[in-house]
């Protein structure tokens, strides 16, 4: 059975009728839909086991703590982390990247260098701008080549003895480019720079294995991988986490507190101040179990096939431009495109009239938009529940757009 045939019944929202048409949801790159098992796991949690975690010794508190810590084990398995202490829960990718930037930021000195890339999402750019400004450090960006890949020769020039951090996306949320993580990590490590990988678009799509990527930090959001809003993951390599002071303070992350000072708690809690997103962790466990049951290889293949079908279809459609690497290359489940004579917003609005949800705009990647020479693009993204028929509907609708306005 094709993957979508198997999965579609699990997603209640696919019953939605939008503007008289069955919903065709091609915006999972912004936020995916949720299978029933994820929604129900959170319900069950709230209806049977909710309490605050960690410091409680009553039955509900123990159940909640076990469920919360079980989510950590699930994530550890899902990303192949060496130990559960390397898995820190955050509120999302942006939160995780901000936490890392603040934490590393405290260790930076004037004229230290931070290397990012031109295809970064603002969430992997602005936190570094803030840190660079605060510490007098310099921010440099690896250019993107015409084929949508990173300029690796430039990377070699940009990484110097002064480089302390190299931060980059695993999969571009616009181009779909899969960056050579292990290779970039190798070059960064040669100068002892810390590597920070934004995995927001990779985690829903690729099988992850932290040791083989080799990076120091890897962050992603649950809501893009069938999980709930409000929670994300920051993986940190043990040795690096051990060496860092926590960047943010609060309860839970301390061992002993006096008015003027505190002693930090053990890993991973040292990096988790305050009441965590507990129900959300329960939902994330269910999302991971769903993906594992399907198998990430199969998820990736299915989404690649839809991406290829879209790229090939657009190549045959007059007036449509696509961005990013060619269909022959492995890509993320992302196709950004432009329709001649139409603004991306109008493309999205016109497709919505046919029940098709795509995103339009700068996709929080304004520097990349500038490099592409556009203000924005339209963008279709795919998940486990999308079908080849839905791609056909998209292709037909886009083909009819040029005469629409």
């Amino acid at each position: 059975m094709r993957l979508d045939e198997q999965t579609r019944p699990d997603f209640p929202i696919l019953q939605r009728i939008v503007n008289g048409h069955p919903l065709v949801y091609l915006d999972s790159g912004a936020s995916s839909q949720k299978p029933r098992s994820v929604i129900e796991a959170m319900n069950r949690y709230y209806e049977r086991s909710h309490a605050n975690v960690h410091r409680s010794i009553h039955t509900l508190g123990e159940e909640a703590t076990e469920l919360y810590e079980l989510a950590r084990d699930s994530v550890q398995r899902f990303i192949g982390a060496a130990s559960r202490e390397e898995v820190v829960f955050t509120r999302g990718t942006t939160d995780g990247l901000g936490l890392i930037a603040e934490t590393i930021g405290r260790t930076l000195a004037k004229d230290d260098e931070i290397v990012v890339t031109e295809l970064e999402h603002h969430s992997n750019l602005i936190p570094w701008q803030l840190v660079a400004r605060d510490r007098g450090a310099h921010l440099k960006a690896v250019p993107v080549l015409a084929d949508g890949t990173l300029d690796m020769a430039a990377l070699d020039r940009l990484i110097t003895r002064r480089t302390r951090v190299v931060a980059f996306a695993h999969v571009s949320n616009v181009l779909g480019t899969i960056t050579p993580v292990a290779e970039i990590v190798r070059r960064a490590r040669a100068v002892d720079a810390i590597t920070v990988v934004d995995g927001a678009q990779a985690a829903p799509h690729l099988r992850l294995d932290m040791p083989s990527l080799g990076c120091d930090f890897y962050v992603f959001s649950a809501h893009k991988m069938l999980g709930p809003t409000g929670i994300g993951v920051m993986y940190g390599r043990r040795a690096v986490l051990d060496s860092l002071e926590p960047g943010r303070g609060g309860s839970e992350m301390i061992k002993e507190v006096w008015i003027d000072r505190a002693q930090w708690n053990d890993l991973p809690w040292r990096f988790e101040p305050g009441t965590p997103p507990i129900a959300e962790a329960v939902g994330l466990t269910a999302a991971i179990e769903y993906l594992e049951k399907v198998g990430m290889e199969r998820v990736g293949e299915h989404e690649q096939a839809l991406t290829r079908q879209t790229l090939e279809g657009f190549a045959r459609t007059a007036g449509v431009t696509v961005y990013g690497p060619p269909a022959s290359v492995d890509r993320g489940a992302v196709v950004a495109f432009a329709v001649e004579g139409l603004h991306p917003h109008d493309v999205a609005a016109l497709l919505d009239a046919e029940g098709i949800a795509v995103r339009a705009g700068h996709h929080c990647a304004m520097p990349l938009m500038r490099r592409l020479g556009v203000v924005g693009t339209s963008r279709a993204t795919f998940s486990v529940f999308n079908s080849p028929d839905e791609v056909s509907l998209l292709l037909a609708a886009v083909a009819g757009l040029r005469s629409a306005l």
Binding site: N19, H343, P344, H345, D346, A349, L350, D352, A353, E354, A360, G361, H362, M366, M369, V375, G376, A397, G400, L401, S403, A404, L405
Partner: protein, 129 residues
Amino acid sequence: MSAAAHGVYSDVIRERWRKPRHRGEVPGANAVAEDVNPLCGDRVRMMLTVAPDGRIEAAGFIGDSCAICTASADVVADLVTGRSRADAAALEVADVLNVLQSEIRPTRMRCVTLPVSVLGQALNGSKRA
């Protein structure tokens, strides 16, 4: 598809998107502002020529913008041309909506309001002139 498009945009918007009357540089403009819609990156620049007596002699815009925003900018330029500075400053979003004749959804309201707010900036000689 045209049928669907009709449902999405009014004839006024479609017409002004296809053939805006005030798109283009305004030579000698002496009140200029430009701003961006943070939600989408759309950018509009409004240019006015204000006579010594305060009358707006010419108005125009350029911008990278969607149909609604373009139509709004075009209508704004239309409405202020020939008016006094004070009258122009009193222009409200409702006046533009009135001309556009389209139901605008909340998430796209900024597409309508951006040119109005840029007009205000141009008249104030303030931000990013």
